[in-house]
Amino acid sequence: MTSQPDAAASAGHNSHQPDAQTVERLRERAQFIRLETIRLIDIAKTGHYTSVFSAAEVFSALYYDVMNLRRGEPGWDGRDRFTIGKGHAAVGLFPIYADLDFFPRDWLDDYTRLGSPLGDHPDMRKVPGVDFSSGSIGHALSNAIGMVLAQRWTGKDYKVFCMMGDGEMQEGQVWEAALFAAQNRMKNLIAIIDRNGFQLDGRVDDVMAIEPLDEKWRAFGWEVHSVDGHDIAAVTALLRRLRADETREKPALVISKTVKGRGVSYMETDPGWHLGWLDPSDAEEAIAEIRAQVI
């Protein structure tokens, strides 16, 4: 599936396409994210595999290609920022932060253990690389807006990316924030909805329907795009283009159409896997399945 850009943002579309080598590298990093998620959840004996698996390509594209970051300098004040509303996917972010030398890699080995900075939700007080804490759904877009707004008074130039879950659209604060960002023409804000279709109690559209999502956000004054969230080349090209676009006079929203649990076949068809643990024998099979795939 290709993105559906608004006319104003479509200029230079092709120049943002990643080359084959980059695509391969980002695909491998997405696989790394999935495999590390299985490893860390085995330490905790419980965790959100599927919430990471739906977002793995977007995480990979952002942290290994699109965002302006400095390895080993998580506090660099010129960096692009990332906030996340679906904080329970942090288990897929921590391996990235260790990989980028934001904190020592051996922190991962004690994931969720007594005294560990790494828990189910990301904590900015404890984990270098976490730009804002998460855990209470519906706050992250507002936090991101604050970081963009502050550019008025700091003079710093950066972009802020915010990932929200699709179930998160049911939180009222999201729409307060959506109004505010449009009113303030926040061109440096790029939000991403991980549209994996599920929330704890079932299918999002059965629990509390949110469609038509694109029309809602357009009506709120945003530039809306849609992409296959597992097509790493398309995701990267779109996010690169939105990051580079200096003509946009409004915040951008990407509806990332994904499959919850993508990469492990039985997780893709069973919403119960929002939370769980794989016995080592099952984990072995899941790992084999992930390794065998070229998504």
């Binding site: 804490s133 970081m147 307060e176």
Partner: protein, 328 residues
């Protein structure tokens, strides 16, 4: 059609003309900007109620209009604070202390962002606007949030002093303030220190520990009782968290009747009285404590001064409660 003829007529955007007390908040913030602090302010559609319109006029590029979206306002403020800019955000205390409580806990206090939260028109000072606009729980909610400072200035000069002092205070702060009509307790230039009470004497018969608008009333009551031969002191516990434990302990030690009293424009559950009671029991003081305030009920509606009289939160009322306590 011409406008109103009487100079006594007024409208919302001229509130600060009829109530100059609303200027204190903006004055404090303007002082901070002039002193070189990277301070910004915002409000959820209440800039004329809290007087921030004065700040917005002085520094239009430093004022944020949030519309009627309090939760977004608090979370945005937290995002701003991550960059080193210090945001002051204001709304009615009833909304700040209850509606945005969770955003304050997660995004501000737990995340250790030095946001300054202004809950104005606190207590029952919105009178006949009713329970939705009364804040008699905000001390309780805010003081139970770890790593959040709670301040309840008793008048405008003390508010300005507390805002000045905040420049050197790392923790996020909840300022619990009135409606700009608080009677003057201190002159301009008064000092404020976090964790330090303003002691207006310790009483051998009774020390009244108060905060906010009840400080002035407590001083009136103490003056009347002193004139009648009692030994009565008053502590202005503007710094509710951190609390000035030493002042409470000294008041207990100096009491010859074994009695202390608290007064607050707040539910007696969870507020200043509860905080003082915690110190007294921690220290094993064996003191009888009269907690006076709103007694776990929803306030009636009426003009504020009528409510203060009804709930015995004015000078005469506090005196009558104190005298009865000393007799009992």
């Amino acid at each position: 059609m011409s406008g109103p003829k009487s100079p006594n007529s007024w409208q919302y955007r001229g509130l600060n003309m009829v109530n100059p007390g609303l200027d204190h908040l903006s004055n404090g913030l303007i002082d901070l900007v002039k002193a070189g602090h990277n301070v910004v302010a915002g409000s959820a559609d209440l800039q004329y109620s809290n007087g921030l319109n004065r700040f917005a006029t002085a520094y239009p590029d430093r004022y944020i209009s949030f519309g009627i979206s309090e939760q977004n306002m608090v979370s945005v403020a937290a995002g701003i604070a991550t960059t080193g800019v210090v945001p002051f955000v204001a709304t009615f205390a009833s909304f700040m202390g209850l509606l945005t409580c969770e955003q304050i806990r997660m995004d501000v206090a737990y995340s250790a962002q030095p946001v300054r939260l202004i809950g104005h028109h606190t207590g029952i000072s919105l009178g006949f606007y009713g329970t939705s606009h009364h804040a008699t729980e905000d001390i309780g909610t805010m003081r139970s949030i770890a790593d959040l400072t709670v301040v309840s200035p008793s008048d405008g000069a003390q508010l300005e002093a507390a805002i000045r002092a905040s420049a050197d205070w790392d923790q996020p702060i909840y300022f619990r303030i009135g409606r700009g009509r608080d009677p003057v307790v201190y002159g301009a230039g008064t000092e404020f220190r976090f964790g330090k009470a303003q002691v207006h004497g310790f009483g051998e018969d009774l020390t009244i520990i108060a905060c906010g608008i009840t400080v002035h009333a407590a001083l009136e009551a103490a003056a009347a009782m002193t004139a009648a031969g009692r030994s009565v002191g008053v502590i202005d516990m503007a710094s509710i968290k951190p609390l000035d434990r030493d002042a409470i302990i000294e008041a207990a030690d100096r009491s010859k009747t074994g009695r202390l009293m608290t007064v607050e424009e707040h539910n007696i559950l969870g507020g200043l009285g509860a905080a003082v009671a915690e110190v007294l029991t921690d220290e094993g003081k064996g003191i009888r404590l009269k907690r006076h305030g709103i007694h776990d009920e929803y306030s009636l509606i009426a003009p504020p001064t009528h409510l203060y009289a009804h709930y015995k939160l004015d000078g005469a009322g506090i005196r009558s409660v104190a005298e009865e306590f000393l007799r009992g």
